[in-house]
Amino acid sequence: MNIRDLSVKEYGEGLRAKKFSAEEGMHEFLSVIKKEDKKIHAFLSVFEDEALTQARAVDGKIAREEMLHPLAGVPIAVKDNILIHGAKTTAASRILENYASAYDATVIQKLRDSDVVFLGKTNMDEFAMGASTENSAFGATKNPYDISRVPGGSSGGSAASVAAKFAPMALGSDTGGSVRQPAAFCGVVGFKPSYGAVSRFGLIAMTSSIDQIGPIARSAEDVSFLFDAIEGKDRFDTTSVGVPSGEYSEEAVKKIRIGIPKEYFLPAQAGGEGVDAPVKAEVMKSIEAFRKNGFAVKEVSLPLTKYAISVYYIIVPAEVSANLARFDGIRYPKELKKGFEKSFSDLLEKYKKARGYGFGDEAKRRILLGTFVLSAGYYDAYYKKAEKVRELITREFESVWDDVDVLLAPTTPTRAFKFGEKTDDPLQMYACDMLTAPANLAGLPALSVPVKKYEIGGKELPVGLQIIGRQFHDREVLALGRFYEKYLRV
C-alpha cells in the first residue's frame, strides 16, 4: 500500500484501523514534497513541524479510541489566500510577502475541529486573478501532466498538489473558474459551491459578490466529504446560508434530467473564442454515456452565455478596486524592499510607492479598470449595464430549470496550454473563463470531473466535464458526479 495513492476516505479509514499512523503518513507527504515539489512548485510554504505535531495529536486520539471525524488526520493543502492563524498568507503577492494571519478562516476552524492536518499553503495567481498561476509573484506552478504547461488557475497550486499526490485533498477559491479550471487541467475533481454555501470569513476578498471557497480532490466522492466538512452558515459571513442536507440515492440520481447548453459547445472561430474540437469530442462521449444509461438528455439554449466574460470582467475589477484598497502600505505589508521607507516624503507618496511596488501587472490592470468602470460618467455604461446583464444571465439559467435539473458542458474551452501562450494578451487569458464564469455570476454550484481516468506520464492531457446545478442543489451536483465516476467513466 502506498499512502500517497489513498483516497481521502481510505486514508481516514486506514488511520482508524491503525494500518499506519498519522505521523507516518505526514512524513511520507513531507518527504515527497521536499523531493519533488522543486519541479512542480505547488507549495509556497510547508508546515513541517506544525503538521507533525497535529498528526501526533491525532495519533494520540486514535490510541485513546476517541470519537473521530472521518477526515481526522487527513492532510490538506490550502490555497494561500485562506487564513491560517500564525501562518504566512501571501495571496502570492509581494504586498503580503511576510504577512502572518491573525486568525483562522472559518473553513480552517471547521477543519481544525475535525482534526484535519494542514500540510502547507499553495501557489496561485496573485489575489486569485488569473487562469494559469503565471501571475504569482513567486513563480508559476507547473502542470504535473506536462511541466511545459500551466496547471490552470488561480488555484493552480492546490490542483497540482492533488494531481501530483503531494496531498489527498486541497482547498481553493473559485470566482470565475479558479477551482474548476485548474482541476480540469490537472485531471482532478474541483467543486465551486453555490454562492452562500461556504463561509468566506478569512478568505482574502477579491470579488465579494462572487467568491466561493471550494474543495479539490482526486474523486467526486472525496470532494463531497470535504464539502460536507466546510459548508454551512457562519455568523462571521452574513452571505453564508449553507445548503440543505440529505442524500441522493442512486435511484434518485438516475432521475436527474440533463440539459446540454448548446452555447457551451460552439467551436472556436478564427481569432475568436470557442471550444477546441478534442475537448468537445471527449465531453460528448461522457454525455453519450449518460444517455446510454437511461438518463433523460435534452438540448437547451442559453444565448447570453457569450456575454459572461464581459460582465465578469467589469464586475470583478470594480470589486477588486475596492477590496484591494486595504493594501495601503500602512497596515500591510509588514516590510517592503530594503531602503523603501526612506524613499517617500508623505503619506500619499507612501501609498503610491507601496502599491506600485507591491502589486503585479494583472492586479494593477484590474484596479485601474475597476476604478474606470466605477468612475463618474462611466458607471452606468459599464458597471450598471454589467449588473443588469448579470441579472439576465441569472434569469436565463432559471428559465431552463423547468425542463432540466443540471447542465453538462466542458469545464474549459481548451486543455492545459503552454507557459507564455496567453500572458501577452489579457483578453485571451480572460476567455479561459468563458464556460465557468456564468455559474459564478448566477451563484450556481458547479463541479468539474475528469472525463476519464488519466495517468501522469500517459500521453493525454486531461479534459474536464462540468456539471452545473440549481442554486443550493450542491448535493445533487455532487451525487451526479459520484455516479459518473463510479458507473459511467471509462
Binding site: 486568525y103 470589486e319 503610491k352 501587472d361 446583464v389
Partner: protein
Amino acid sequence: MPEKITKETLEHLLSLSRIELTEEEKKNKEPKLLNDLQRILEHFEELNEVNTDGVDVIEGGKAGVNEYRKDEEKSDFRKEDATEQFPETHGGYLKVPAILEHKKKSTNN
C-alpha cells in the same frame, strides 16, 4: 460608448488608485497597459447588444435577509496578532507617517 482612454486618463486612474509606476515601468509597460485597457473596454461594448430595458438590479450583490445579532463581544481574537503584523507600531497601536506638519519657529513666514 467608450471614449478612448488617453494617457492623461490613465495617469488620473493611477493617481486615484494610489499606484505609482517607476520610470522604467512608465517606459516599458505603460504603452501596453494603455493598449490592453483600450482593447478590454472595446470588448465590453458587446454588452450594448443586450436589451436591458426595465431590468432592476441590486448593485453589488444579491438580495438577502438582514442578519441581526446581539451586540456582544465573542471573538477570541488577540489584538497583538494583528498589530504585530503592522510595519510600524507605537505602544501597541498602528503608527502612520505624520499628516500635519509642525511649523518650525525658524521659518521665515
